[in-house]
Amino acid sequence: MFKTIKEVLRTGNATVKYPFAPLERPQDVRGKPEHNHVKCMVCSACAVACPPNAIQTPLDMREGTKTWSINYGRCVFCGRCEEVCPSKAIRLGTEFELAVMTKEDMEELCVYHLQACTQCGSHFAPAKQVAYVARILAQGKDTNTAAQKLEYAKVCPKCKQKYDVQRLMEQSKEEGEWLC
C-alpha cells in the first residue's frame, strides 16, 4: 500500500498533451509516403516492391498516359518504395494523422504522358523516362551523334527493330553478302 503510494508520487503525471499539442516523434519515423511528382519518372519500381499493392501504375495506351497512384488506406508504411526508387522521388515523412471523411480521399494520383513514337505514333514509354535517357545521351562529347541518338530515343522498340533490320540489309547489299 505504502509502496504503491510512493510509486504514484514518484512518477507524477504521465499523460501527454496530444492531440491538443503536437506529438514529439523520432526523426526517422516511418509516416506518410510523400511523392515528388517532379522527380518521379513512373518507372514502377515502387509498385513492384510495394507488398500490399498500395502503389499502382496503370497504363492507358489509348490515352497515352501512365498513372502513378497511391492508396493510403492500403499502405503499410514499410518504406520499400523509398528504398527502391532510383530517382528519390518518394520519401516517408513523419505525418501519421491520415484520417479522411471519405474513402476516395485516401487515394492520390499523378498522371504522366507517354512518349509517342516519331515513326509510327504508338505510345511506348513514359515521356519523362525518354527525356531522361535523352539527357544522359546528350552529355556525350560527340554532339552530332548525341543529337542523332536523341532522335533515336523517341523511336519505339518495334520501329527500332525494323530500322535496324533495314540498315543491316542495306549494309549487306553494299558489301554484297547476306547475313544468315
Binding site: 509502496k3 510509486e7 516523434r25 523520432p26 503499410v76 514499410c78 520499400r80 528504398e83
Partner: protein, 577 residues
C-alpha cells in the same frame, strides 16, 4: 564411426533405423541442423512416437503440402524439435496418395499432433485413420463440403463461399465423470482474448470440471494469400501482421526459413540487430502481460503503471525501427535499418530507466498479498500434460521444463551470448508470471550485451539466388513461445507453401487441463497466464443444461467478478431466455 563424423541429427536417424528398419525410406538434410526422415505411411506414427518420447523430441508443427503438381502426392511433414542430446530439427516426411487421401494418425500415440492433424484434414481434405478427434478445427460449420482451401486446384484466395447452414454443428467435448454440470459458454468472442474463441466451461457450482473451446473464427487465410498473391520476398511484411505483439518474431522466422533453405549468408551485424529488436519486442510484450495479470487479479493501479512503463519500451522500438509495431525491418538476407551510435546511447539510457521502473513495480506487485493469493496454485499445468502436448514459452517454463528456442537452437545474435532458460517449478499462474518478470530483466541485460558487442559491417546481403522447391524450418522465441515457420519457394517467385505456427497455437490444447479443478473466477486469470492476445470482447452467456435457461453476462460483470470475487453474476435472477 566416430561421433564427430556424424552430421547434426544423425544419432536420431541411426536410432530410428535400428528400431524401425523398414520405416526409414530415405534421409536428407534440408539445412545444417535439419534432418528429414522419409517414412513409410504405416510406420510414421510409431516413428514420431519414438522420436518424441524416446529421443527427447518435442512436437513443433505438422505441415501439410499439396505436392501433386510436383510428384503426384500430398506430403505431411511432422516437425520435431529434438532437445536432448544432439539438438536439431527432425522432420518425418510422409507421402499421402492423391487417390485415397488417407494417412495414419499419430494422435493416439503423441497427443501433441492433434491440432496439426485436424488442420490438414480441413485444409487438404486428407483423412487421418484412427485420429482421436474427428471434429473440424479450422473450417467453420457453414463451410461447403469438399472445398479444401489449401489444395492447389480448389479455389482462388479471394473466393468466399456461401454459407451452407445456419446451425452450429460443432460438438464441444467434456469428461465430467458423473458430475452434474452446468455449461457456461464464453464467446464466440472471448472475454480476454482478441482472437475470437468460443469457450464452454462445464461447471458444478463454481468449480470448473472440464472445458472445451473452439478457435479460428476469423481465420485470415494468410497462407493461401501468400501462396497466390504475394511474392516470396514481400511475405516478411505479411508475416509481421500475423500478430500485433510478436510480429517481428514472425518476420524473422519467415526470412530465416528462406535463408536456411537457400543457404543465404546473413551479415553478422544484421544478426545482432535482429536479436536486439526481438528482445525489445519481448520487453513490451512481457510488460503487457504483467499489466494484465495485475488487472485480472484486481490490482488496477499496477496495471496502469505497467502500461505507463510499457510505453517507454514502445518508444524505444519506435526509435530503433521507425514504428511502434510492425517494424518492417527484415528482408531476406538481412535488415534494412542500422542502429546508429546515438541510438545505441539512447537505448542504453532507456534500458536503465526501464530496469529501475520495473523493479519498483515488481516489488510492489510481489508484496501485494492479494496478488499472491489469486495466482498461487491456480491453473496448474501438470508436468505430464506438458510433456504430452508440447506447449511453449513461459507457459511451459513455468512448469519446470527448460524449453527456450534461443538457447536450445541458437539463432542470430543469441549464438554469441551465454544464457540458460529461466524456469519455475510451481506450474501455476504465479510461476508463469515470475518467469516473465525474470525474462524481462534478462532481456534488458541481453540487449545491453548485444549492443556493446555488435560488430561493424554490412547489414544486408543482396547477392544471392534461389533454387525452387527447397524447404526448411526456422524458429524464433517470441515472448509467448516459439514461432515456427516452414516454407518452400516455388518456381514462380512465390511461396509454394508457407506454414506459420504462432506460439499460442501450441498452448491452446493443454489449456483444458489447466482449467480443471479451478473456479469460474479464475478462468480469465488462467487464460491470461498463457498470454494469448488480449482485447475486450462482447459478453458471456451462461446456459443451465437442465432447465435450458440462458443468462447473458456483460463483460464488466464477468471481469468484475474475476477481480472482486463478490456478487457472482450467476446468482442473480436476470434470466433473459
Amino acid at each position: 564411426m566416430n561421433d564427430k563424423e556424424l552430421r547434426s541429427g544423425e544419432t536420431h536417424v541411426l536410432s530410428a533405423k535400428e528400431r524401425f528398419p523398414e520405416a526409414v525410406r530415405g534421409v536428407s538434410w534440408s539445412a545444417d541442423n535439419q534432418v528429414v526422415i522419409e517414412s513409410t505411411p504405416k510406420q510414421a506414427p510409431e516413428l514420431v512416437e519414438h522420436l518424441y518420447y524416446e529421443r527427447d523430441g518435442w512436437f513443433s508443427v505438422l505441415v501439410g503440402n499439396d505436392e501433386r503438381p510436383l510428384n503426384g502426392r500430398y506430403a505431411l511433414y511432422y516437425v520435431l524439435s529434438m532437445e536432448g542430446a544432439d539438438p536439431c530439427f527432425c522432420t518425418v516426411r510422409v507421402e499421402v496418395p492423391a487417390d485415397s487421401c488417407e494417412f495414419y494418425s499419430a494422435s493416439s500415440r503423441v497427443p501433441a499432433v492433434i491440432w496439426g492433424e485436424r488442420e490438414v484434414q480441413d485444409m487438404f481434405g486428407l483423412k487421418a485413420l484412427g485420429i482421436t478427434d474427428r471434429r473440424n478445427l479450422v473450417l467453420p460449420d457453414d463451410w461447403p463440403e469438399g472445398l479444401y482451401p489449401l489444395r492447389k486446384d480448389t479455389m482462388d484466395y479471394r473466393h468466399r463461399p456461401e454459407p451452407t447452414t445456419d446451425v452450429e454443428n460443432y460438438e464441444f467435448l467434456y469428461e465430467t465423470a458423473g458430475h452434474d454440470t452446468t455449461v457456461m459458454p464464453m464467446g464466440p468472442l472471448h472475454i480476454t482474448s482478441d482472437e475470437p474463441g468460443h469457450f464452454r466451461l462445464f461447471v458444478e457450482g463454481e468449480d470448473i470440471i472440464d472445458a472445451d473451446y473452439r478457435m479460428f473464427y476469423v481465420h485470415r487465410g494468410m497462407e493461401k494469400c501468400a501462396e497466390s498473391r504475394m511474392n516470396y520476398d514481400t511475405v516478411p511484411f505479411l508475416a509481421e501482421r500475423i500478430c500485433g505483439i510478436c510480429g517481428f518474431a514472425h518476420s524473422v522466422a519467415y526470412v530465416e526459413t528462406i535463408e536456411k533453405a537457400q543457404q543465404i549468408e546473413v551479415p553478422l551485424r544484421a544478426q545482432y540487430i535482429r536479436s536486439i529488436i526481438l528482445e525489445t519486442e519481448r520487453l513490451h510484450s512481457h510488460l503487457l502481460n504483467l499489466g494484465l495479470v495485475c488487472h485480472f487479479s484486481g490490482f488496477d493501479t499496477g496495471f496502469h503503471h505497467m502500461f505507463r512503463v510499457r510505453e517507454k519500451s514502445m518508444d524505444l522500438a519506435e526509435m530503433l525501427t521507425g514504428a511502434r509495431k510492425t517494424y518492417g525491418l527484415n528482408l531476406i538476407g538481412g535488415v534494412r535499418r542500422d542502429i546508429l551510435a546515438e541510438q545505441k546511447l539512447a537505448t542504453l539510457k532507456c534500458l536503465d530507466e526501464l530496469r529501475t521502473d520495473v523493479k519498483h513495480l515488481v516489488d510492489e506487485l510481489l508484496s501485494t498479498p492479494h496478488f499472491l493469493k489469486r495466482t498461487e496454485g491456480i491453473g496448474i499445468l501438470d508436468k505430464g500434460v506438458a510433456r504430452d502436448y508440447s506447449p511453449v514459452g513461459p507457459t511451459i517454463r513455468g512448469s519446470g521444463f527448460a524449453r527456450d528456442a534461443r538457447w536450445l537452437h541458437p539463432y542470430d545474435g543469441y549464438k554469441f551470448i551465454e544464457r540458460s532458460p529461466i524456469t519455475q517449478e510451481s506450474c501455476d499462474v504465479k510461476g508463469r508470471t515470475l518467469v516473465r518478470i525474470d525474462e524481462f530483466m534478462d532481456s534488458l541485460s541481453i540487449i545491453g550485451e548485444l549492443l556493446e558487442n555488435t560488430p561493424g559491417g554490412p547489414i544486408l546481403n543482396e547477392s544471392w539466388s534461389h533454387e525452387p522447391h527447397r524447404f526448411a524450418v526456422a524458429l524464433t522465441e517470441a515472448p509467448r513461445g516459439e514461432d515456427l515457420h516452414w516454407s518452400m519457394i516455388g518456381d514462380n517467385q512465390k511461396c509454394y507453401r508457407w506454414r506459420a505456427k504462432a506460439s499460442t497455437y501450441s498452448n491452446w490444447p493443454p489449456l483444458r487441463y489447466m482449467f480443471r479443478g479451478n473456479t469460474i473466477s479464475d478462468a480469465a486469470m488462467i487464460v491470461g497466464s498463457i498470454d494469448p492476445c488480449y482485447s475486450c470482447a462482447e459478453r458471456v452467456a451462461v446456459i443451465d443444461v437442465k432447465s435450458k435457461k440462458q443468462q447473458v453476462l456483460s463483460r464488466q460483470q464477468l471481469e468484475s467478478y474475476c477481480r472482486n470475487r463478490k456478487h457472482s453474476p450467476l446468482e442473480k435472477s436476470t434470466v433473459i431466455i
